[in-house]
């Protein structure tokens, strides 16, 4: 985990986007599992009364904030690593189905590592990522 954070700070480009995505996938996957498998059962058991809803009330907003960051990281990685729309949708949905985030993180890492291993043979770089959208410039814009 510490190593992942360090590499997220150090790496740029697609490798950095992959590291950021992996960190966020881990956080979001853990948070969602905590909500669904601990928070909601406790809330149901306690009949929606205060001490029993504590986990949902605390973890819920934190998970919500991290999920937004996770979506940004997904968009960034999908733009850099030429993901198809379906794959991006899978990454988005993996923040909604508990446990899916960990599986998806493995698949995505496998795919992006293959792309990185191709070196100069890789498909050409991103036409647009969220950073080019937010900064208002377009890279490699064809027409």
């Amino acid at each position: 985990m510490n190593g992942l954070l360090k590499s997220a700070r150090r790496l740029r480009g697609t490798a950095g986007a992959l590291a950021r995505y992996r960190v966020m996938a881990f956080i979001v996957g853990t948070g969602l599992a905590l909500l669904c498998f601990v928070g909601i059962p406790l809330q149901v058991i306690g009949g929606n009364k205060w001490p029993w809803t504590a986990v949902v009330a605390i973890v819920g907003p934190i998970h919500g904030i991290f999920y937004i960051v996770y979506l940004v990281a997904c968009l960034d990685l999908a733009g850099r690593a030429r993901f198809r729309t379906v794959q991006l949708l899978g990454m988005v949905c993996s923040g909604l189905v508990p446990g899916l985030a960990f599986y998806m993180e493995r698949k995505v890492t496998e795919r992006v590592r293959k792309l990185l291993a191709m070196g100069p043979d890789a498909p050409p770089g991103p036409a647009a990522t969220i950073w080019t959208v937010l900064s208002g410039r377009t890279r490699r814009d064809a027409d």
């Binding site: 949902v56 937004i68 968009l75 293959k114 498909p123 377009t138 814009d141």
Partner: protein
């Protein structure tokens, strides 16, 4: 590659945009109502859903401007090869030119190609007068021999192919021949054709 806003892929993205973004906004509005009726957590969600809507627009813009990859690089190369190839197959031996297989027509044609190559010329595909091939090659040989050296096509009936291979090629400039004079007959060629 066509209009990026009107392709099939783009219409899928447009559909996702007009379903996901209003859905997020509706959910946000619903959370605003819940927050006003006393649910504290909904204050947060009524901020979060519009952010999801914005991210949806950003994703739509990004995917529209992305060029989707055609080659599926995830599959190993072996699976993409034709079934005619096998990995354990012995590479075929290099082709060796067997002169015994050369018919006279083929030899003539090869000499014609050699003459073209020696002169830095390229083969012309046009045969506007519908000449038989050997006559055409003969004329080409003569034209190479006589025309390029400076004398014109009054020698059309005389020259055998051997002279063409040696003599005609030497006078040609090697550099100018590659792209300019391959298909169109040159200006000195026109009255031969008409």
């Amino acid at each position: 590659m066509g209009n990026r806003w009107l392709s099939r892929r783009a219409f899928v993205l447009h559909f996702l945009l007009v379903t996901v973004v209003p859905g997020c906004l509706l959910a946000g509005w619903w959370q605003v109502h819940r927050a006003l009726s006393g649910n504290l957590l909904s204050y947060f969600y009524s901020v979060e859903w519009p952010i999801f809507a914005i991210l949806g627009v950003v994703a739509w813009w990004q995917l529209i401007h992305d060029v989707p990859t055609k080659a599926d690089f995830e599959k190993p190369r072996r699976e993409r090869r034709s079934f005619l190839h096998r990995d354990d197959e012995v590479p075929s031996p290099a082709l060796v030119w067997d002169e015994a297989l050369e018919t006279p027509e083929l030899r003539r044609y090869n000499q014609y190609l050699q003459a073209l190559s020696a002169g830095g010329e390229r083969k012309r595909w046009g045969n506007p007068r519908g000449l038989p091939l050997d006559v055409l090659y003969e004329q080409d040989d003569d034209w190479l021999a006589a025309g390029q050296a400076g004398g014109r096509r009054d020698s059309a009936s005389s020259g055998p192919g051997d002279e063409a291979a040696g003599g005609g090629g030497a006078g040609l400039p090697a550099s100018s021949s590659a792209t300019s004079q391959d298909v169109e007959p040159g200006p000195d060629r026109t009255d031969l054709l008409s």
